[in-house]
């Protein structure tokens, strides 16, 4: 298995040089991506339901399939059967185009997301740049949806989406840049390979600033996916449903799928940039082809890699869901405040700091591992400390029976 491309070529029996071959190759690549996006959508929607339910002392869907696993599928079939409604005054062309554009921006992103060293559809040497570029295309689709619906609430949602994209894009881009500085490449494959070896080789532990870079990236990526607390474009209690108020049936389903697809993409990017991509963090497992040998070894190694990156991405998706069901929604101007007044300068400072660190620390051989171990230990220690702190706070509030401020009588 040289790569998927040659694999496809061998299946097709010719190099896709002609137009027909090109179309055929696109189709052959598109089908597995579509399947994967759909499965990601199904699984993450189910996860969202289950996680929100368990956070909220409920059980969530239980009827269709084991623990409601097929509920999303049933909903999808229902949405397929719904009438395709377009508001009378809507701009029909843009209205129809908008969900496709939104979906396309997510869909294209999957082309460069690596699943393992070999299993990547297009290993662009500008991978991160490409992802950042197509990721923000989504906002155009959202603005189109809001504008064409001819509904004031949709328009408010569209304007909010546009405001949001100009606010979060810069800190997002700067935090990506910091990683590029560390890795010295924009190719996702190269970035991942720079993190091979033990778990402390992950970029998250590479230097003292990477945790902050990751947090900025994560916050900005929540905004990119329009997830709470940044779900302003569709804030249901304020804007009814925001930009997709007028959408129903399959068009709505496509928006929905694109949202969950985008969640996977930003999580997968985070995994590639900070959490060692397809590497498990245990060198033996990551280079199992050495011990098994032959084609089997390569297949097993790639399978382990794909499984690892998918599991890691879903763990990050779960964190996104956890945040959504915990925090209230931020206000538009506060979102801009946060992104432009805090995240932007911080990410600039971090970029400089990471660059300096890289310039001075880089040449020392083996320094990365030592630094990584220190950072890993510090991370674990601070997590334990935060857990303790949280426990103390909740205990304190449970004991709080008396009022802080009480006045009696007139």
């Amino acid at each position: 298995m040289e790569s998927y491309f040659t694999f496809v070529s061998s299946v097709l029996g010719f190099e896709p040089t002609s137009l027909l071959g090109f179309v055929g190759a696109i189709a052959v690549w598109a089908v597995p991506i579509t399947a994967f996006v759909s499965v990601v959508g199904l699984v993450s929607i189910w996860l969202e339901r289950k996680i929100s339910a368990h956070i909220q002392c409920r059980v969530g869907p239980m009827e269709v399939g084991p623990h409601g696993a097929l509920q999303t599928l049933a909903d999808g079939i229902k949405l397929l059967g719904k009438e395709d409604l377009v508001p009378a005054q809507a701009d029909r062309i843009l209205f129809g185009l908008a969900p496709m554009l939104v979906f396309a921006s997510t869909f294209v992103g999957f082309a460069v997301i690596p699943f393992s060293q070999k299993a990547v559809i297009a290993d662009l040497n500008l991978g991160i740049f490409f992802l950042a570029a197509v990721g923000s295309l989504e906002a155009i689709g959202v603005v189109m949806a809001g504008w064409s619906s001819n509904n004031k609430w949709s328009l408010f949602g569209a304007i909010r989406a546009a405001t949001q994209v100009v606010s979060y894009e810069i800190p997002l881009g700067l935090s990506l840049l910091a990683v590029v500085v560390v890795a010295g490449s924009m190719s996702l494959n190269d970035i991942t390979q720079a993190q091979s070896g033990w778990v402390w080789n992950w970029f998250l532990f590479r230097n003292p600033f990477m945790w902050a870079v990751f947090l900025i990236y994560f916050i900005a990526s929540l905004a990119e996916c329009k997830r709470a607390p940044f779900d302003l474009p569709e804030a249901e209690s304020e804007l009814v449903s925001g930009f997709h108020t007028e959408y129903s049936g399959m068009r709505f389903a496509i928006f929905f799928l694109a949202e969950y697809g985008a969640m996977y993409i930003v999580s997968a990017i985070a995994v590639v940039l900070f959490f060692g991509g397809w590497y498990t963090g245990i060198p033996f497992l990551d280079h199992i082809s050495g011990s098994i040998g032959g084609t089997t070894g390569v297949v097993v190694e790639n399978l382990i890699g794909a499984g690892t990156i998918i599991v890691k991405s879903f763990l990050l998706i779960c964190v996104q869901m956890w945040i959504r069901w915990t925090l209230p929604r931020i206000r538009l101007d506060q979102m801009m405040d946060l992104c432009l007044k805090y995240l932007l300068p911080f990410s600039l400072v971090l970029l400089v700091a990471v660059s300096l660190w890289q310039a001075f620390q880089g040449p020392i051989d083996g320094g990365n591992s030592v630094m990584g171990m220190i950072m890993l230990a510090a991370t674990v220690a601070s997590l334990i400390w935060m857990r303790r702190l949280a426990g103390r706070v909740s205990k304190a509030s449970a004991l709080r029976r008396e009022l802080p401020v009480v006045k009696t009588g007139l």
Partner: protein, 569 residues
């Protein structure tokens, strides 16, 4: 505190013959004043040092057309005043004849008069001169006639489907973009079918970007004619209607109504009944606050809190369901007591709830109390000053959030509240955050009250022994002529409430729930007016929302806890 007589004497001394009549029915000082001097007298009452009636609790009217003893004028407009300094109350009645059905408006004296006068105009057709916006408020704008007049029959159905544009209230938009006055403000209808407008509210807003420049509310979507409806049945039949006022805490409405009728009878409920009323009343208050806080936090996008709060509510509803068979519409109170005693196991279940409740409350507080986003979204939003809050007629948690410890359970204690040890929860900010926190504090105080009431509750009957209001025991009905006659008369004629009038305020979950009742001595209510706290809270909403963003206007509405059933009656 000035005594009732002293107040009346002072007014009489100042205005002489303009004070036509004065009395103190059931301890409530009342003056009847001449129509043309009404505004002067009300101004004097508001401004004169020593009187300072700075709160217009309620204004309503009554139609004397069918009253057995004819009134001097057909209509009486009734103002209930209260002084926030010492809590004294005064009723001012102004006769308005049918031919010259006008009265000077007092909307500039008390802000709460604005909507109250609109309601009187809507229901009785009394025109208030000088009122800035004398439009119908509860009935449809094309409605013909005045619903609460005694000669309006409710069978006269009217088919009205034309929506109200509200363009006259929102002001000029300018038509031509080239014109000077043209504005690029966007008109937006928030509601009535908007997720944030909880029940059935509509706010028509001029928007500049996301900021509300001007807001005009329309209410009445849930107007069911509670007051008119009450006049059709007997006194007991009103109780289920009161369930539907503030349906989040129906028990408190039941209690508020029967307390008013009991006051007219001069009945004091039994001690056990009073304890039961305190317990179920406080449980209802907890439920109501759960709904308010849960919904408000949903408006803020914090959905999870809703479940944590509704888990408490669910358990209390389970308890109340066992008590009276219904969750929302309890109809548990009766004139003279309660429908029946507590069920077996009530106390055990309640103590379990009380044991678990602090954990649920602290879960929610743990999620929001120090949450930066929550604080950013609520602190300093929708701030109202104490003076404004009083002038708008605010009561309840929303008033207490401005720092005024006005709680009827402390100020004018009823039932057994005076015997129990609890505190009035107040905050000083008057913003969305403090209104929410006052409610959290009140839930904790309500738990304290319930715990003590459970400890002290005596055994005994839950109904008074008064054959005027209570059906006799079945064996007396079957074995004695007196019992049979008593039963027959009570069933056939209904409870005959002594002629007169009464206004009795109760501290409901949203504030002062007052029932103003006029009885003509027959078995049917002559006039029942409900002073709904939501009505006076909501009339201040547009002025609070203006200048805020939509995103803030929504939790602001949530923090007021407007219950449409009570608002529109």
């Amino acid at each position: 505190m000035a005594t009732s007589d002293a107040i009346i004497d002072q007014v009489k001394g100042q205005f002489g013959e303009a004070v036509l009549e004065s009395s103190t029915p059931l301890g409530f000082p009342t003056v009847c004043v001449a129509k043309d001097r009404a505004r002067d007298i009300l101004t004097y009452l508001r401004d004169e040092p020593g009187l300072e009636f700075d709160v217009l609790t309620d204004a309503t009217a009554a139609d004397g057309l069918k009253y057995p003893e004819p009134w001097d004028t057909r209509f009486q407009v009734v103002y209930h005043l209260r002084s926030s300094r010492d809590g004294k109350r005064l009723r001012v009645k102004v006769g308005v004849p049918e031919r010259d059905c006008t009265l000077a408006s007092v909307h500039d004296l008390w802000k709460s008069a604005n909507w109250a006068e609109r309601e009187i105009f809507d229901m009785f057709g009394v025109r208030f001169e000088g009122h800035p916006n004398l439009k119908r408020i509860l009935c449809h704008h094309k409605f013909k006639g005045h619903a609460l007049r005694k000669d309006y029959f409710i069978h006269d159905g009217q088919w009205l489907d034309e929506p109200e544009t509200l363009l006259d209230e929102i002001g000029d938009w300018g038509e031509n973009p080239a014109d000077e006055g043209f504005s690029e403000l966007v008109p937006v209808n928030l509601g009535p079918a908007h997720p944030a407008m909880h029940g059935t509210l509509r706010v028509f807003a001029k928007m500049e970007g996301e900021t509300i420049v001007k807001a005009v509310p329309e209410i009445g979507y849930l107007h069911r004619g509670f007051e008119k409806h009450s006049e059709t049945g007997n006194w007991t039949m009103v109780i289920p209607y009161t369930d539907r006022l503030n349906y989040c805490s129906a028990m408190l409405n039941n209690i508020g109504y029967v307390r008013t009728v009991e006051k007219m009878f001069g009945i004091e409920p039994t001690e056990r009944c009073q304890y039961i009323r305190v317990i179920v009343g406080e449980l209802s208050r907890i439920i109501d606050h759960c709904v308010c806080l849960g919904a408000m936090l949903v408006d803020l996008g914090a959905l999870t809190n809703f479940w944590y709060l509704f888990n408490i509510r669910e358990r209390i509803y389970h308890l109340l369901e066992g008590l009276c068979g219904a969750r929302l519409t309890s109809s548990y109170a009766r004139i003279g007591g309660m429908a029946h005693d507590l069920q077996d196991g009530f106390e055990t279940e309640l103590r379990e709830i009380l044991r678990d409740m602090p954990r649920n409350v602290s879960d929610v507080l743990g999620l929001i109390a120090k949450n930066r986003i929550f604080l950013d979204r609520t602190v300093g939003i929708g701030v109202i000053s104490r003076e404004d809050a009083l002038s708008w007629g605010w009561t309840g948690p929303c008033l207490r959030a401005t720092g005024i410890p006005y709680d009827l359970r402390k100020v004018e204690p009823y039932d057994v509240y005076a015997d129990l040890d609890w505190d009035v929860a107040t905050r000083d900010g008057g913003d969305v955050h403090d209104r929410a926190m006052v409610r959290f504090d009140e839930m904790i105080q309500s738990m304290r009250i319930i715990e003590q009431a459970l400890d002290r509750m005596p055994e005994g009957p839950v109904m008074v022994e008064d054959k005027r209001v209570v059906l006799p025991e079945k064996d007396k009905v079957y074995s004695s002529i007196e019992g049979l006659m008593n039963h027959f008369v009570l069933i056939y004629d209904g409870i005959k409430v002594p002629a007169g009038e009464a206004y009795v305020p109760t501290e409901a979950a949203n504030g002062e729930l007052g029932f103003y009742i006029i009885s003509d001595g027959s078995g049917r209510p002559y006039r029942i007016h409900c002073r709904a706290p939501s009505f006076y809270l909501y009339c201040a909403y547009p002025s609070l929302a203006e200048g805020n963003m939509v995103a803030d206007a929504v939790p602001l509405l949530g923090s007021l806890n407007i219950i449409a059933g009570e608002l529109d009656r």
